[in-house]
C-alpha cells in the first residue's frame, strides 16, 4: 500500500487537516496581524491540499475528486500525520506545531520539485516557496516567545516538549515513495535545532514516538475536526456557493 496514490494522499491530508486547524484561529488570534497571517497560511495549506487530493483521486482512478476525498471519507481513511490534527491549544503550541510542520514540508516539497513524477514536481515547485515563508513566520514567533519574558519562555518550552514526540512519525522510512521521508530528517533537525538554539530553548530528547496516522489510526481529535469540516457537504451533497 505504498504506491503513488498513498503517498500523494498522505501529503494532501497533512495539508488539508493543517489548513482546517489553522483556520480555527480566525477571529481568535492574539492580534489582528496574526489573525491575517494564520488565515493566509491556512489558505496556502488548503491550496496545496486541493492540488494533492485532486491528483491523488486521479492516481486512484476510482472517480473520486478533491471533494469526495476531503468530505466523504471517515477518520480511519485519513492518512495525515498526528501532528496536524492535535488541537491548537495555546498560541505557543500552535507555533511549535507550525515550526515542525513547515520544517518538514519545506525539504519535502523541495525534493518533490525534483522528483520524476511531473505532476508532483510541479506541485512541489510551487508549494516550497510558500513553505519557506511559513517556516520563517513560525521561527520568528518561536524565537520571540522563547527569548522573551520568563512566562513566554516557560510556555514556549512546554509547547515544544508537548509536540516534539509527534515529529518522529513524519520521517517513517518509505524507500519506494517519490520522496523517502527518512531522507528529510537531517535537514529538519538542522533547521529546528538552529531555531531552538536562537530562541534559548532546549531541544527535547527523543523518546516516546506516537504514530499511526499513516495507517488511519488517529487521535480522537481528528474525528471532531472532521465532523465540523464535513457536516455541510454531507448534509447537502454537492453543495456549492
Amino acid at each position: 500500500m505504498n504506491g503513488p496514490f498513498e503517498f500523494t494522499l498522505r501529503l494532501g491530508d497533512d495539508a488539508l487537516i493543517a489548513a482546517q486547524r489553522l483556520a480555527e484561529w480566525t477571529t481568535r488570534a492574539p492580534e489582528m496581524e496574526e489573525d491575517i497571517a494564520l488565515a493566509n497560511i491556512a489558505l496556502d495549506q488548503l491550496g496545496a491540499a486541493r492540488l494533492l487530493l485532486t491528483y491523488a483521486g486521479e492516481l486512484e482512478g476510482a472517480g473520486r475528486d478533491e471533494d469526495a476525498l476531503a468530505y466523504l471519507r471517515d477518520d480511519r481513511e485519513f492518512r495525515n500525520c498526528l501532528l496536524v490534527e492535535l488541537p491548537n491549544d495555546d498560541f505557543a503550541v500552535t507555533m511549535a506545531k507550525l515550526l515542525l510542520l513547515s520544517a518538514y514540508q519545506l525539504p519535502l516539497y523541495t525534493a518533490l520539485a525534483e522528483c520524476a513524477d511531473e505532476r508532483l514536481a510541479a506541485i512541489g515547485s510551487k508549494t516550497r516557496k510558500e513553505s519557506a515563508y511559513h517556516l520563517d513566520h513560525a521561527a520568528l514567533w518561536v524565537k520571540r516567545l522563547g527569548d522573551g519574558t520568563e512566562e513566554s519562555h516557560r510556555r514556549m518550552q512546554a509547547a515544544v516538549e508537548q509536540v516534539w514526540p509527534y515529529a518522529a512519525e513524519l520521517f517513517a522510512p518509505d524507500p519506494g515513495a517519490p520522496v523517502d521521508p527518512a531522507a528529510l530528517r537531517a535537514e529538519f533537525d538542522a533547521t529546528v535545532t538552529a531555531v531552538l538554539a536562537e530562541a534559548t530553548l532546549t531541544r527535547p530528547e527523543s523518546g516516546w514516538a506516537p504514530a499511526g496516522g499513516r495507517d488511519g489510526v488517529h487521535t480522537e481529535h481528528l474525528s471532531y475536526l472532521l465532523a465540523e469540516m464535513q457536516v455541510l457537504h454531507r448534509a447537502h451533497p454537492g453543495a456549492k456557493w
Partner: protein, 157 residues
C-alpha cells in the same frame, strides 16, 4: 481583437491596476486556426489564491466578447510563478497605486530578506513592516515612518 490581446487585457480582480499579463500569470494563448478554438494557460500567484475562479471566468467573458466563444482556460503550476515575472509597466503601475513593488528574487525557493523598502507615496526609505501578511495572499502590510501612511507591499516570491 485577437485572442492574445483580449486575454492579456483582463484585469486582476484583487489588484485592479494590473492586467493578468502584467502580473505575469498569463502563460500562453493558443488559437487553433482551423476550428477557432482558443486555449489560455494561466498560473496562480499562490496555490490557494481565491481569485483564480474569477480570473478564469473573466478570461472566458473577454474572449467571448472579442468573438472567440470557444475557449478553454487551463491552469499550470510549473514553472512556479515568481514576482520577477511582473513586467516593468506592472511595477510602475503598482507603485503609482501605492503598492510597493517586489524586490528581485535572488535564489529560487528562498524568501529574500527585506532590508529596506521605499514608501510608494513619499519615497522615504524610513519604513517598517506592520504585518508579514496582508489583504491578499501575495501582499504584506508596511508603514512609512516619514509620512505615516500605511501601504501594501507585494512580497517577493
Amino acid at each position: 481583437m485577437n485572442p492574445r490581446e483580449a486575454a492579456a487585457a483582463v484585469v486582476d480582480p484583487e489588484i485592479r491596476v494590473l492586467t493578468i499579463d502584467e502580473l505575469g500569470i498569463l502563460r500562453s494563448v493558443d488559437e487553433d486556426p482551423s476550428t477557432g478554438r482558443v486555449v489560455v494557460t494561466i498560473t496562480p500567484t499562490y496555490t490557494g489564491c481565491p481569485a483564480m475562479d474569477v480570473i478564469r471566468a473573466d478570461i472566458r467573458r473577454a474572449l467571448t466578447a472579442a468573438g472567440h466563444p470557444d475557449a478553454e482556460v487551463r491552469t499550470v503550476h510549473s514553472p512556479a510563478w515568481s514576482t520577477d515575472w511582473i513586467s516593468e509597466s506592472g511595477r510602475a503601475k503598482l507603485a503609482a497605486a501605492g503598492i510597493a513593488p517586489p524586490q528581485p528574487v535572488r535564489r529560487p525557493g528562498v524568501v529574500p530578506l527585506t532590508l529596506t523598502l521605499r514608501c510608494p507615496r513619499c519615497g522615504s526609505p524610513e519604513t517598517e513592516q506592520l504585518s508579514r501578511f496582508g489583504s491578499t495572499a501575495c501582499k504584506a502590510l508596511w508603514r512609512c515612518r516619514s509620512c505615516s501612511e500605511p501601504f501594501d507591499h507585494l512580497k517577493a516570491l
